[in-house]
Amino acid sequence: MTARTEGATAGGGVGFLRVPAGFRAALPVILFLLVGFAAPLLAVIGFSFMPARTFGFTGQPTLENYITIFESTSYISLLWSLGLALATVLILILISYPVAYGLVRVFGRWSTLVTLLFVIPLFVSENVRLYGWLLFLIKNGVLLGTLKTVFGIEAESMLFTTGAILLGMVYVYLPYMLFPLTLGISMVPNDAREAASDLGASRWQVFKEVELPLSMPGLVIGCLLTFVLAVGAIAEYKVLGGQQVIPITHDIEIAFTYAQNWPLGAALSVLLMLIVGVLVMIALRRFDLDKFLGRR
């Protein structure tokens, strides 16, 4: 890591060339993200203070949208979104840890192929894949149809239940947990593991004392990423959940589309952004990205 340098900034350059090379290289991305990310967010925040059902920034600033939210049932949607996201994260930790561990320790030269197998679905639109689950779970679908014709069992479809939503989210966000976790586990030096064992630690003690704390950065990133994505999920609820559970994202979408109440939608978005933003800030505050990504 000591290899990073200031870069060749000297050389008698004038004007722009005197700016550090790193900043020069970063400038396009910074400008783009200011226009494409920061500005829209500011616009949303601004809009959330506009009078209800207006479509410009000309109105008198007001808190009425926030008051509306607290008087409405949107908090139920928010709790559902947060609760199911939390459940998704917990399930993902349990099901991806063995695979991540295997990718680092067990599969050896097969690891590349296994990684590829888990990457491919990332590139197929999530609603297409969720639709596949719909076909699997639906009455007379692949699962129930097989059960009926092969085993003669008539079962209830689990489609349009909370369980189906959870299944969809676990499915869609699996790679976002798996890969950071793999990176985290690969950060545990084999020596440290062996040293702990040599000093008398049992398999469980090695895990608790050495593997878990040293792979923590990967676990934190994985949890954060999947939680944030799951809080923002919408397709899972629509395709697999029917109208069983209404997530906060649905409320936002309704406000923007059918209700044509952009300021209310903006205020709901701000609320969600606050929750997500605070979480990300806390988790990433003391995080050494260089160490995490730079390791080979």
Binding site: R4, V29, F55, V128, Y131, A233, W262, G294, R296
Partner: protein
């Protein structure tokens, strides 16, 4: 140490892996099966197999239009994202500069952000700017999310890049541009290449950003969603299968190109 306990544990992990791979591919298999029925409604086991719906879908002008839009958006996104992200990755991992740590977090933020909310925020923003929504605004929206992802992908390669290589080239008399062309870009090529694959495929499959920003133009995921919500038609599984196969073909093609590049490099 290869004791019996270790072997049993490893065997369990492999069994678990196989179960997970099946889990991951169940939907794709279901969609492919559903596309191969000739009846109007999907029931399993499939009563009558056939390619009728493939024929109908492939000959539809509307579908051609949608595929074209999706490919065009993905292609433009790829080119712009890779150029921006290449320099962005150098700033991320190669240079030590004062604002780097803040910059790194700025780059990460859009990734750690609910995409549907981002899509709505952009819709609002475009509206505030008075822009007409079209495939161009969708390109912009995709870039907000894809540029950071590609920056990270390339940055991982940049971390293993030895800056002494650039210094040596300078020292041997190369100009800044020559260093870039002769040393930096070729050495970082694998990262740039996988970055482009990511850019293309993530744009190709994106739904939440497209939904709010394409206006009158329609991408494949949007079209599929509209049809899904409207009620069942076997055209959905067909187009879904096409999208999946397209992604796999693209990925395998990319992998082969990468292999060929590596081989040429090691042969030279």
């Amino acid at each position: 140490m290869e004791t019996r306990g270790v072997r049993v544990r490893h065997a369990l992990i492999v069994v678990w892996l196989l179960a997970m791979i099946i889990f991951v591919y169940i939907p794709s298999v279901c969609i492919t099966l559903a596309s191969l029925t000739s009846s109007r409604y999907f029931t399993f086991p499939i009563p009558k197999w056939g390619l009728d719906w493939w024929q109908k879908t492939l000959s539809s002008i509307e579908i051609h239009q949608i595929l074209e839009t999706s490919i065009m958006i993905a292609a433009v996104v790829t080119v712009i994202a890779v150029v921006l992200a290449f320099f962005g990755a150098l700033a991320f991992a190669r240079y030590d500069w004062k604002g780097r740590s803040i910059y790194q977090k700025l780059v990460l933020l859009p990734i750690f952000f609910p995409q549907s909310v981002l899509g709505l925020a952009l819709l609002l923003w475009f509206n505030a700017l008075g822009l007409q929504l079209s495939w161009q605004t969708a390109v912009f929206a995709h870039l907000v999310w894809i540029v950071p992802v590609v920056t990270l992908v390339i940055a991982i390669q940049v971390y293993s890049f030895d800056p002494a290589l650039e210094e040596a080239a300078f020292d041997l008399g190369a100009t800044r541009l020559q260093v870039l062309r002769e040393v930096t870009i070729p050495v970082l090529m694998p990262g740039i290449f996988s970055g482009s694959l990511f850019a293309f495929l993530l744009s190709w499959g994106n739904f939440p950003l497209s939904l709010f920003t394409t206006g009158a133009d329609t991408t494949v995921p949007e079209y599929l969603y509209a049809k899904m919500v409207a009620g069942y038609t076997p055209g959905v599984p067909v187009l879904g299968t096409i999208a999946t196969i397209g992604a796999i073909v693209f990925l395998i093609g990319g992998y082969l190109v990468m292999l060929a590049l590596n081989r040429r490099r090691s042969a030279a």
